[in-house]
């Protein structure tokens, strides 16, 4: 075997290896894009840190992204579903104004799960609070119990839902933290859409995750922390 042959061999090997390294994540991504057959892990707790100082009043890109992702109409009459909404708040005594997105806070001790008669409201192992529409009978007790008014009731028949996001008349629904995206290894649509990156999504249980580091280093609060629900959504600058 000549030197040239040997050289060609190693060259082929390394270039093939490099190609494999380059393609592999894509292949893996393609694989996980279909969702994992393993159940959600209880070691993970998904959460968000919302930086209200970066949230612009009047901007509703997160709301629009949510509506598009989950197939919501975007209409805002009293009977329309709103999974995420922008709230403008103003401190009565100081006059300080803020704008922030409000949605299901994915509590550790969710009142909606406690009150649901049929266990349709439930918390997944990774902390995401969901409605199992196969079990929901539409009693709306969870809507009464939610301290954040995060839930909506589907008041009319729906057609042409997103195949990834089933929704239907007579059942209650709310922010799913884009569970169908999380299971594919993606971020929730609102976090991805925010032009100022005000929504940081990640694993609250992983001490090395960006969100955990941030929560350790900057002041953040839970909304209505006095209720002791330990929400998965935290706010900064409130």
């Amino acid at each position: 075997m000549s030197d040239i042959d040997l050289y060609r061999r190693t060259f082929l090997k390394t270039s093939l290896g490099a190609a494999a390294v380059a393609i592999a994540p894509g292949m893996l991504l393609f694989d996980t894009a279909h969702g994992k057959p393993q159940p959600a892990s209880g070691k993970v707790r998904w959460g968000m840190l919302i930086d209200t100082t970066q949230c612009k009043s009047g901007c509703d890109d997160c709301v629009t992204a949510c509506n598009r992702e989950n197939g919501l109409s975007g209409a805002t009459s009293a009977t329309d579903s709103q999974w995420i909404r922008k709230i403008e708040i103003k401190d009565i005594s100081s006059g300080r104004e803020l704008s922030l997105p409000m949605m299901c806070q994915h509590c550790e001790h969710p009142p909606c799960v406690d009150v649901c008669p049929t266990t349709a409201s439930f918390k997944r192992a990774d902390g995401i609070v969901l409605v199992d529409k196969h079990r929901c009978i539409g009693c709306r007790y969870c809507m009464m119990a939610c301290p954040y008014k995060a839930r909506s009731f589907v008041h009319e028949p729906l057609h042409d839902q997103n195949p990834d996001v089933p929704r239907g008349k007579g059942t209650v629904e709310a922010c799913t933290l884009c569970v169908h995206r999380i299971d594919q290894g993606l971020q929730p649509a609102c976090a991805e859409a925010c032009p100022n990156q005000a929504i940081l999504f990640g694993d609250l249980n992983d001490t090395d995750s960006e969100i955990s580091k941030k929560i350790r280093s900057v002041a953040s609060v839970q909304i209505r922390a006095n209720l002791g629900l330990n929400t998965g959504i935290r706010y900064r600058g409130l």
Binding site: G35, D132, K133, H134, D160, N162, V179, D183
Partner: protein, 122 residues
């Protein structure tokens, strides 16, 4: 015994005849077999779907092969991308014949996801 056998035979003939004429002829779409054989699936698909829905939704274990979405992907009609749009659509044809109400599509889309994504890409 002979009498019984002949009686059975007599009963079977019209049954077979009826089965041959009225049996539903669903539009199986692209079709193919990825889970179990046809007879098994006819009998047991609901158990699979029900088991799968709890696994996927409540536990987050999404076995792609058994998901409703995956069923629809292959079995939606090649004409209208749906399993429920017409009387002879994949799900409707048999369910109508057996008079069993399908509850899935109150919430789930009956459309093939690829077709839905294409249409809603804009």
């Amino acid at each position: 015994m002979k009498l019984f056998a002949s009686l059975l035979l007599c009963l079977c003939i019209p049954a077979a005849w009826a089965a041959g004429t009225n049996a539903p002829k669903p539009d199986i779409g692209k079709g193919g077999q990825c889970v179990e054989d046809v007879q098994w699936m006819r009998k047991n698909h609901m158990h699979l779907l029900k088991h799968q829905r709890d696994e996927a939704l409540r536990k987050g274990a999404r076995d792609e092969k058994l998901s409703l979405k995956n069923c629809i992907e292959c079995h939606a009609s090649t004409r209208d991308d749906s399993v429920i749009a017409r009387d002879d659509s994949f799900c409707v044809a048999c369910h109508r014949y057996e008079a069993v109400k399908i509850d899935c599509f109150e919430c789930h889309s009956g459309k093939r996801k690829s077709a839905w994504s294409q249409r809603n890409a804009k």
